[in-house]
Symmetry: C2
Subunit: 435 residues, 2 copies
C-alpha cells in the first residue's frame, strides 16, 4: 500500500455505520500513527439516500447502488455494517472474490455463510475480519487468533447476549420474567419482538463463531443446541440464590477429544466463577486452554459506538497487515465431529417436585444411582402436601441425567416437574463448601 | 521473509525460556498455519551450559556467549527471557540497533529503559514487543495497541500482582498478614525475600508500562506513587467486608486532561466492581475508554508456561507482521505531565480512632467539611473507652482528604490512627445501596 490516504467504503450507514464514520474521522491521527495510513470513507451504501441522518457524510458519499462500491478500484477495505444474510452475503462474496478485504459486524452472516466467505477470501487473497460480530467491543476474536495461537483452547464459556443477562439480573432482583422483559424493552435493550435474544438465537450465532475460531473447525449453526430463557421462572432464580449461585444464559463450546459440543442455555454459575459477576447488559467470554489456564474478557457486548470501535480496529488491522501472511486465512484448519449431545459431562442442578412421604428420597436416590449420577448436595423444601427437592450432582453425562429424570418423572410419587440445568463452577462441586 | 524456516534465539533458558522452547516445538504446526513460518530455536543464552535442565535443547543450542547470537545473521527474532536490567538491557539494545526484532518478558527492563529501547527499535526499523512483561498470558498490551487504537483509553485499573492478591485473599479468610505471607511462600507464590511483591515494586513496573501504552506518553517508574501491603491489617479487611467491599492492591493510571496520575496501593473495591471478584493469584486489568466504556481482562498473571504463551504470541506477531508498518513503533507519541499527587479524586475510606465522647463526631465532620470532603457513609464502632469511625467519602481530591486527616489527627479527641484508602467503585458511592 503505497498511498498514505486509504479510501474505504461502508455497506450500511445506520447505528453502527455512522459511528464507524465518526470514529474514523475523530481518530484519523491515531490510526495514522499506528499504520501510517489515513482511512477515509468515500462511499456508504444505504437503502434511502434522502433519509435524515444524525452524523452525515459529505455529499456524494451515500449511495443506494452497490455497484458504485464494487466497481471503484480505489476502495481498499469495505466494512459490512448493514445486517441481514441477504443481500449482505452476496455483496461480501463479490468483494472478496474481487480481492477486496472486508470487515463485518454481522454474526448471522458469519455463522451461516462463513465457509463460503472464507473460501472467497482465500481465493481473492484478502482478509475477512469479523471481531464486531461477537460481543462488539470485546476483542475476543483477535485474542483467540493472535494471542492464543499456541494455547490449544479447549473450552469457551460465555455470557454473549446482554439483553438476556439484563433480564436475568432483574429477575434476581425479584421481578418475574414478563416484567423484567417489559422493563428491558422500555429501556431499549430488548426489541419489540424479543425472540432473537430471549430464545437464544443471537447467542447461538455468537457461540458458533467462537467455537469455530477457538477449535479451528467449522461449527454450523444447526449444531448448536439452543434453549432460551423464556421458561426460566423466579423459582429457578431463588433456588440458584439459595445454593450461592447465579442463573445465567451461558454459551458453551467444549472440545472433547476430536469432537465438539456447542450449546446455549440457562445454567447455574457458582458465585466464585468469573462469569457470575457479569451484571446487566455486559458480556464476558472465558477461554480455557492448556498454556493459559483461563482468560476472561468482559465488556459491553453491544451498542453503536462500541461495535464501531471493533469494526475500526479490524479495518486498522487489515491496513496494518496487508502484504503479510498473518492470519488472513480461514480460522478453520481441521474437521472435527459433533459430540452426541448426551455425552457432554457437567455437574447439574435438578429440581424435583414429589409427594412428601417416607421412602421418596430413597427411590430418587436409587434412580440417580442407577444412571451413575452421584449427588453432591440435596436440599428438601417442604410445600403443602408435597416437597421440592433441590439436587446438585457431581459431574455426569447429560444423557444419563436426562435418563434419570425420565425415570423419576415416572415414579408414582412424582408431582410432575423434574428439570435439570447445568452448573458452571471453576471448582469441583465438592469444594463448594457445602456441608 | 522468504524462508519458511525461521531461526530464532532465546536470551535465557530458565522457567520461561524452556517453556517458550517447548511451546514453539509443540505448536509448530499451529504457528505455520497462522504465519506460514516455522520458528526454530537455534541458540539460547545461559550462564551455565552444563547445568541439568528439564526440557533440554539439542546439543549446540545452549551458549554462554552472547556474541554467538548477536553475530548470527540467520536469527530473525530474539526473545529476552533472562530477567534483570543488566546485562539484558545492553543485549537487547545491541540486537535492536542491528535490526533484529526482540520480544521481552522483562517488566523492569521495559519500565526502566523503555525510552532507549524503543528509540533503538525505531532506528533499527524493527519491532520490540513486550506482552509478557505485564500480566503474563493476559493479552492486555496487544488489546491496548491493536484493538483499542481509536477508543481513547483514559483510565487503567488493575490487579497486576498475583502474590499480593493471594495474600489479601487469605487475609479475607481471617489470617493475619504474616501468616498469609508465610503460606504464600510455602506454596511457592512468594519469594523468600518478598519485597518486590509486597512493597508494590513489581506492580509499579507493570502499571507504569500499562500507563505508557494506554496514554501514549512515557511514564517513568519514579512517577508511580507506590504503597505496598505490608501495613495492611485484619482491621482493614474486616472494615472492607463490613462495607461490602474487598481489599485489593490496585494499580491505577488516570488521564486527567493532559496530565497523568499513576499509583499502586491498597484500595477498597466495591463488591459489584469487576475487579472485586478476582481471587487468589489471578490478575485482571480494566481499561476504560470513550468508545468502549470498559473492558476487563482477567487471567493468570504469572507462571512459566503462561508467560511463555505470551512470549510466543509476540514472536508470532513479529513474524506475521514483518514488512508492514503495523504498530512496530514506540507506543509513545505525546508528552504529558505528571498530575500533582494531591489532585487525583476518588471516593475514600477513612478509619479514625477517637475518644468516645459527645461532640467528637461534630468536630470530625467539621474538619472534613472544611476541606470540602463530604461524607457518604459513617459507621461508628464502639471500643473500650474509644471508638473507631469508618467513613466513606464522596469523590474528593486526595490532597484535601490528606489535609483533613492531618487536622483530625491534631484534635485532642484523636487516639492516633487516622488513615485513608481509596475506594474503587463502578458506581457513585451514593448508589452503593447504603441507607
Ligand atoms: N447496533 C448494535 O448494537 C450492534 C451490535 C453488534 C453487531 N451489530 C451488527 O451490525 C450490523 C448493523 O447494525 P445497525 O444496528 O447499525 O443496523 P441499522 O441501524 O439498521 O443500519 C443498517 C444500515 O444498512 C442499510 N441497509 C440495510 N439493508 C440494506 C440493503 N438491502 N441495501 C442497502 N442498504 C441497506 C440501512 O440503510 P438505511 O439507512 O437507508 O435504512 C442502514 O443504513 C448488523 O449486522 C448488526 O447485527 C450491531
Ligand atoms: N516466571 C514467571 O512466572 C514470570 C512471569 C512474568 C515475567 N517473567 C519474566 O521472565 C523473565 C525470565 O524469568 P524466569 O522465571 O524464566 O527466570 P529464570 O528461571 O531465573 O531464568 C533466567 C535464565 O536466564 C539466564 N541468565 C540470567 N542472567 C544471565 C546472564 N547474565 N547471562 C546469561 N544468561 C543469563 C539463566 O541462565 P542459567 O540457566 O544458566 O542460570 C536462566 O536460563 C524475567 O524477566 C521475569 O521477570 C517471569
Amino acid at each position: 500500500m503505497a498511498s498514505v490516504d486509504v479510501p474505504v467504503a461502508l455497506l450500511g450507514y445506520g447505528t453502527v455505520g455512522a459511528a464507524v464514520h465518526r470514529l474514523l474521522e475523530e481518530s484519523a491521527d491515531e490510526i495514522e500513527r499506528a499504520t501510517g495510513h489515513r482511512l477515509r470513507v468515500t462511499r456508504a451504501l444505504v437503502r434511502d439516500t434522502s433519509k435524515d441522518r444524525g452524523f452525515s457524510p459529505e455529499p456524494g458519499v451515500l449511495s443506494d447502488d452497490f455497484a458504485t462500491i464494487r466497481d471503484d478500484p480505489a476502495i481498499q477495505v469495505v466494512a459490512e455494517v448493514m445486517g441481514g444474510v441477504d443481500p449482505a452475503g452476496d455483496y461480501v462474496l463479490e468483494l472478496l472474490r474481487a480481492g477486496r478485504p472486508v470487515v463485518t459486524a454481522n454474526k448471522q452472516l458469519v455463522a451461516r455463510r462463513g465457509a463460503e466467505l472464507f473460501e472467497a477470501a482465500a481465493a481473492g487473497g484478502v482478509q475477512l475480519r469479523f471481531e464486531a460480530s461477537v460481543c462488539a467491543a470485546i476483542p475476543v476474536i483477535k485474542v483467540l487468533r493472535e494471542s492464543l495461537v499456541v494455547t490449544n483452547v479447549h473450552r469457551v464459556l460465555g455470557i454473549v447476549n446482554g439483553t438476556t443477562n439484563l433480564i436475568l439480573s432483574a429477575m434476581e432482583g425479584g421481578r418475574p420474567y414478563g416484567e423484567a422483559l417489559a422493563e428491558a424493552q422500555r429501556l431499549g435493550f430488548a426489541e419489540a419482538d424479543p425472540t432473537e435474544d430471549v430464545a437464544g438465537i443471537d447467542a447461538a450465532a455468537k457461540t458458533a463463531i467462537l467455537a469455530t475460531v477457538a477449535f479451528g473447525t467449522r461449527v454450523p449453526l444447526d449444531w448448536v443446541d439452543v434453549e432460551g430463557i423464556e421458561h426460566v421462572t423466579l423459582d429457578h432464580v431463588v433456588a440458584a440464590r439459595a445454593l450461592d449461585m447465579h442463573l445465567k444464559l451461558i454459551g458453551r463450546a467444549t472440545l472433547v477429544g476430536d469432537r465438539v459440543d456447542v450449546r446455549v442455555g440457562p445454567a447455574f454459575v457458582d458465585r466464585h466463577h468469573p462469569l457470575a459477576a457479569v451484571e446487566g447488559a455486559f458480556n464476558a467470554v472465558m477461554l480455557q486452554g492448556d498454556a493459559i489456564r483461563e482468560i476472561t474478557l468482559e465488556g459491553p457486548g453491544a451498542g453503536g459506538i462500541e461495535t464501531a470501535s471493533a469494526v475500526v480496529a479490524d479495518m486498522v488491522s487489515v491496513v496494518g497487515t496487508t502484504g503479510t501472511g498473518f492470519l488472513q486465512n480461514d480460522p478453520v484448519w481441521r474437521k472435527l465431529e459433533r459430540l452426541p449431545a448426551g455425552d457432554l459431562t457437567s455437574p447439574f442442578y435438578l429440581r424435583l417436585e414429589v409427594d412428601d412421604r417416607a421412602g421418596v428420597l430413597a427411590r430418587i436416590a436409587h434412580e440417580l444411582a442407577a444412571e451413575g449420577v452421584s449427588v453432591a448436595r440435596l436440599v428438601q423444601q417442604p410445600g403443602d402436601g408435597h416437597a421440592v427437592l433441590h439436587v446438585v450432582t457431581h459431574e455426569a453425562p447429560a444423557g444419563r441425567v436426562e435418563a434419570a429424570l425420565t425415570a423419576i418423572r415416572a415414579l408414582p410419587e412424582s408431582r410432575g416437574e423434574a428439570s435439570a440445568l447445568p452448573v458452571v463452577s471453576d471448582r469441583g462441586v465438592e469444594e463448594l463448601g457445602w456441608t
